[in-house]
């Protein structure tokens, strides 16, 4: 039987995300007829897993997992010595001696203004400081009569500069933030990965039908692999499947061009790797479409997007009216995951939801690094200060069973991630929630928001369809203007619009029909593939022209269509709205087509409609509380739509599909390295610089 060998050098125990991932994949591999094998960190203790475990690796993926080197211990000693020196220096400075030192050049001046002794009793000592002046003068005379003073000064300065340079280099090399230190760590990582993989494969004796999957790796591991292939021929028999999960670029596709030059070292690493592939069968993956584009752009290699495997099939969920709704955050406590927004969210919901027992918070709060990021430290202190009133914090990493239990019991998952950091990167816990039918709150126009954007727009379209008789389109020839440029135009039959950033936003005043409950807007984004999004602002004015309400929404397409649909509530006192459309992130020109805008009527006294489905995407963190309130106000709807969405989400994201994808790739004749340029991203070929 062929083997499915999963290598994750970061697995040190059975808790945590890495083991969870491996567990799902290996179980699916077993179900698919493979013999599963796990290669983990040397600290991993086999606890009766139903597959063979090789604790082979000395160094994990993360720098913090490595033991301190001699250099790092020396750097720590230096830090301790410097600390003692600094304390001594400060003690001396804030003493009579320090005072004397500061007044040394102006002792007489000081005494003139303070002829009598002060409480500090410095008078006599200050008088003594006067002696400093003639001593200094004497040294100056001596210095003046020394011949070739300039020459000696030059030697001194050169020696001093050289010494500082050497010390600086040493510091760069030893301190954990230094470039040299980082470079040395990467090399060490590559060598150790190579050595440990070599030992592993020599023990395993891999065969042609075997499949090696490495779900956590970077450039050092890639370099290490080529060394293994060079030194052990049999290591090229199995197929290799390498999964990359980190961002390469910041921001979105239209911003990548400015960063291409920074990618040169990475690009060179990929090209060098490709040239050493020889007859090894290697396949490349990421777990999001956006990351695939990034990696193809940099590497000139074809990448595939694979599903997220650590999901469970959906099961029926019923919220018990007697029990508070469980609002859950899972993941470690760090700034890019928005952990530091929870204290404000908890306070915002305290009066209406926490104090009334309608909701409870369960917030995972273990730090990602030993000390914790400062924002997370502050936030955790604030949350701990809440004192257990409906807020449970998990201060340690959750064991798998407990993690799954908390997730299963969650009624709403709140993931206030950094929109830009998570534009391309995946969130495993979001997929776990969606496949389990749990509603979510996440930032709009992020990878997270995009996972349910199609469902949201489908819901809104369906709403407008089923309530067709209440739909009132805005006047056909609506006047639009660009506030900053003064341009104006009537929206004609083409229903096409152009707008950019704030100064080039498209604005229109529209009268609101009686009995209006909502404003809707619909359009196709032409540049949908490029990470753009539209910011819709609606400002309501009453009969006397006073502003009475304001709301905004970010509309970014999902995967199924380029269409976006906005739905914004309009209050009863609003008689006129100012609608403003602009690019959500920058002053980049957008073209939208098939633009439609109108109103949805609603009888007075009717219950408000849910604005979204499956989950709520928020515009910015200031609207996070509003998004959570929206879901809580229509909880049954969000739960039902999330449950309806769950089977499709699970069909896409499951371990069986991942294993099947890898197997299918493995059965292809040629590997990625030997593939022709035609398989590569179209933009990449043009971007290869001379």
């Amino acid at each position: 039987m062929s083997r499915f060998i999963l290598i994750d050098q970061s697995i040190v125990d059975i808790g945590g995300h890495h083991y969870e991932y491996a567990q799902h994949v290996l179980s699916a591999a077993k179900a698919a007829g493979y013999t599963p094998v796990l290669a983990a960190h040397r600290e991993f203790k086999d606890t009766g897993a139903p597959w063979k475990v090789f604790p082979a690796y000395r160094l994990g993926f993360w720098k913090r997992m490595s033991k301190a080197t001699v250099g790092e211990r020396l750097a720590k000693t230096y830090t301790n010595l410097y600390h003692r020196f600094f304390v001594l220096k400060t003690r001396l400075f804030f003493s009579q001696l320090g005072f004397l030192w500061v007044v040394r050049n102006n002792a007489i001046e000081y005494l003139r203004w303070h002829p009598f002794d002060s409480a500090f009793k410095i008078g006599y000592a200050a008088a003594l400081a006067v002696i400093f002046l003639p001593i200094r003068a004497l040294f100056r005379i001596l210095a003046a009569i020394v011949p070739f003073r300039g020459f000696f000064r030059q030697i001194w300065e050169t020696a001093w500069t050289t010494m500082r340079g050497a010390l600086g280099l040493l510091f760069e090399s030893l301190s954990s933030g230094g470039t040299l230190h980082d470079w040395r760590f990467q090399r060490r990582k590559a060598k150790m990965f190579a050595a440990d993989t070599l030992d592993l494969l020599r023990a395993l004796k891999p065969e042609a039908g075997d499949l090696i999957f490495i779900p956590t790796l970077g450039v050092p591991e890639m370099v290490g692999l080529t060394e293994v292939w060079d030194r052990y021929q049999d290591s090229m028999r199995p197929s290799y499947h390498l999964l990359f999960r980190r961002n390469l670029y910041d921001g979105r596709e239209w911003q990548y061009g400015d960063q291409d030059e920074l990618m040169t070292p990475l690009r060179n690493a990929f090209l060098a790797f490709r040239s050493r592939l020889s007859s090894a069968r290697v396949f490349f993956y990421t777990d999001t479409e956006e990351l695939t584009k990034q990696h193809e752009r940099v590497s000139s290699l074809p990448f595939h997007t694979c599903p997220i495997p650590h999901t469970e099939s959906p099961s029926l969920r019923v919220a018990s009216p007697a029990k508070p709704l469980q609002l859950v955050y899972l993941g470690d406590a760090r700034a890019e995951k928005g952990y530091h927004y929870f204290p404000a969210l908890v306070e915002d919901l305290r009066r209406d939801f926490l104090a009334t027992g309608r909701v409870e918070f369960k917030i995972q709060s273990n730090y990602n690094i030993p000390k914790g990021e400062s924002e997370a430290v502050v936030a955790r202190c604030l949350l701990q200060g809440v004192g257990g009133d409906g807020v449970t914090l998990f201060l340690e990493p959750l064991p798998s069973e407990q993690y799954r239990s908390v997730l299963r019991e969650a009624d709403l998952l709140i993931l206030p991630y950094d929109r830009d950091n998570y534009y391309a990167r995946s969130s495993g816990v979001l997929i776990e929630a969606l496949t389990a039918g749990i509603p979510v709150v996440a930032p709009a126009a992020s990878w997270l928001g995009r996972q349910f954007a199609d469902s949201v727009y489908e819901y809104r379209n369906r709403l407008l369809q089923t309530r067709e008789e209440d739909v009132v389109p805005a006047r056909r020839h609506q006047l639009w203007q660009q506030s900053g440029t003064g341009k104006s135009w009537y929206l004609g039959a083409s229903r096409e619009m152009h707008f950019g950033g704030e100064d080039r936003s498209a604005q229109s005043w529209i009268n609101v029909p009686r009995d209006t409950g909502y404003l809707w807007i619909r359009m196709d984004l032409d540049s949908a593939e490029e990470g753009h999004a539209v910011l819709l602002n609606v400002t309501g004015h009453d009969r006397s022209g006073r502003k009475c309400e304001e709301s905004s929404d970010i509309l970014a397409p999902g995967y199924a269509s380029t269409q976006v649909v906005g739905l914004v509530p309009v209050g009863p006192q609003t008689t006129k709205v100012l609608v403003s459309l602009r690019h959500a992130f920058a002053d980049v020109e957008l073209t939208v087509t098939n633009f439609e805008i109108g109103f949805l009527l609603q009888n007075e006294g009717d219950a408000p409609l849910p604005l979204s489905a499956v989950g709520a995407g928020y515009t910015d963190v200031g609207n996070l509380s509003a998004a959570v309130r929206e879901v809580l106000a229509h909880y049954d709807h969000y739960r039902d739509t999330a449950m309806d969405n769950a089977p499709a989400a699970y069909d896409f994201h499951n371990a069986g599909r991942l294993v099947s994808m890898l197997s299918t790739q493995a059965s292809t004749r040629e590997s990625t390295g030997a593939k022709q340029e035609t398989g590569m991203a179209k933009t990449v070929a043009a971007r290869v610089s001379a």
Partner: protein, 367 residues
């Protein structure tokens, strides 16, 4: 002067803007039943306060101005000598300016609380390093604002020290009074605090459009261009009145009669960007809805409780728009609701009792 009690080292004379620290000190006195001494520098224009409730104020003179380098050295040395003599059980260090005191102590008191009321860079670029190397002596750090907390924790390596966030909101629940009914107010906006064309937008009052609003301005004229500031204030016509520098008691009595207060600082440094002034909370405690620039903490509080108005930005038009809205709302049920919400905000979160609770849970039961 007693030994074995609580000592607080202040960076300013008591009674001139450090009510937050006084509240902290009083709460500790109540909690542990210990006498307390405040060691303060000599601000020559401030009289030595006579405080009730077992608080003793000792003024430490320096032969040079206390804010100069030599003045700081003198003050720190003298204070350290005094603390070594008093041997307190609890030491409160107010502000980074006093952190060097810790270096000169013969023995660390059983409990050292660092009340980080200003950003560590406020008093100079060397202060973060003073803070970093002083961590070994600090048991609890209290910050008034969470962004400043995050920045200073990272800068000074305070991750392992227990941290509490306590707003600069000194009013206790027991001292909370019912707000003056909106109908009985004077319909004016007040601003009290530093007056500086370069730091608190005093130049806005020189514009005739701003002078259409009824604004009373209290405060001490200072900063880098006091003459220019004075000229703007004295010549401000329309409905703007400069009322001069008044004492705290006068302001406390006058404040509840106003319709709104104004909170705004130029974001030229960290401290001012993440402003969390006492007067913002005092305004809410008096039932006077604040009009605030979008400094993170005031903005968050006003939006959470709907107890005031948040400007869109720091620009002239932003202030104009906010005042316009304020005047439109005054006298309407929406304004009445804002006043009520001020009271709700105080009762639910902003009272000092609730703030101190965040600190208390980090402290030992007995000392």
């Amino acid at each position: 002067m007693s030994t074995g009690g609580i000592v607080q080292v202040s960076d300013i004379s008591v009674g001139s803007g450090n009510f937050d620290s006084l509240s902290l000190l009083r709460s500790l006195v109540d909690l542990y039943g210990l006498p307390a001494t405040i060691l303060e520098p000599d601000q020559q224009d401030k009289a030595i306060s006579q405080l009730e409730g077992g608080l003793d104020v000792v003024r430490i003179p320096t032969s040079t101005h206390f804010r100069s380098t030599t003045g700081r050295i003198e003050f720190v040395s003298s204070v350290a000598a005094k603390i070594n003599q008093l041997r307190p059980r609890i030491l409160i260090i107010r502000c980074s300016w006093n952190i060097p005191v810790l270096y000169r102590l013969a023995k660390k008191p059983p409990l050292v609380i660092y009340h980080a009321t200003e950003s560590t860079t406020y008093y100079g670029n060397f202060d973060p390093e003073f803070n970093r190397h002083a961590r070994q002596w600090i048991d609890v750090v209290v910050f008034p604002e969470e962004n400043r907390a995050a920045i200073d924790i990272r800068r000074c390596g305070f991750e392992k020290i227990p941290v509490a966030l306590a707003y600069n909101s000194p009013t206790r629940l027991a001292d909370l009074e019912d707000p003056i009914p909106p109908a009985d107010r004077n319909g004016r906006i007040y601003y009290s605090g530093a007056l500086d064309v370069n730091a608190t937008f005093v130049d806005y009052y020189g514009d005739t459009r701003m002078q259409a609003f009824p604004i009373d301005i209290y405060g001490y004229i200072g900063g880098s261009e006091p003459e220019r500031t004075r000229k703007v204030l004295v010549n401000a016509g329309g409905q703007i009145r400069y009322k001069g520098f008044v004492d705290t008691k006068y302001l406390e009595a006058a404040r509840p009669n106003y319709a709104y207060s104004l909170t705004i600082w130029k974001t030229s440094n960290e401290n001012q960007t993440y402003a969390c002034p006492c007067k913002f909370f005092e305004s809410i405690a008096s039932g006077v809805p604040p009009v605030t620039a979008p400094h993170p903490q005031p903005k968050q509080i006003v939006e959470r409780y709907k107890c005031g108005i948040v400007m869109k930005g720091w620009g002239f038009q932003d202030m104009l728009d906010a005042f316009t809205r304020a005047m439109q709302l005054y006298g309407t049920p929406e304004y009445d609701e804002m006043v009520q919400n001020c009271n709700i905000a105080m009762k639910e979160e902003l009272n000092w009792d609730r703030q101190f609770e965040r600190v208390r849970r980090l402290l030992p039961r007995s000392i």
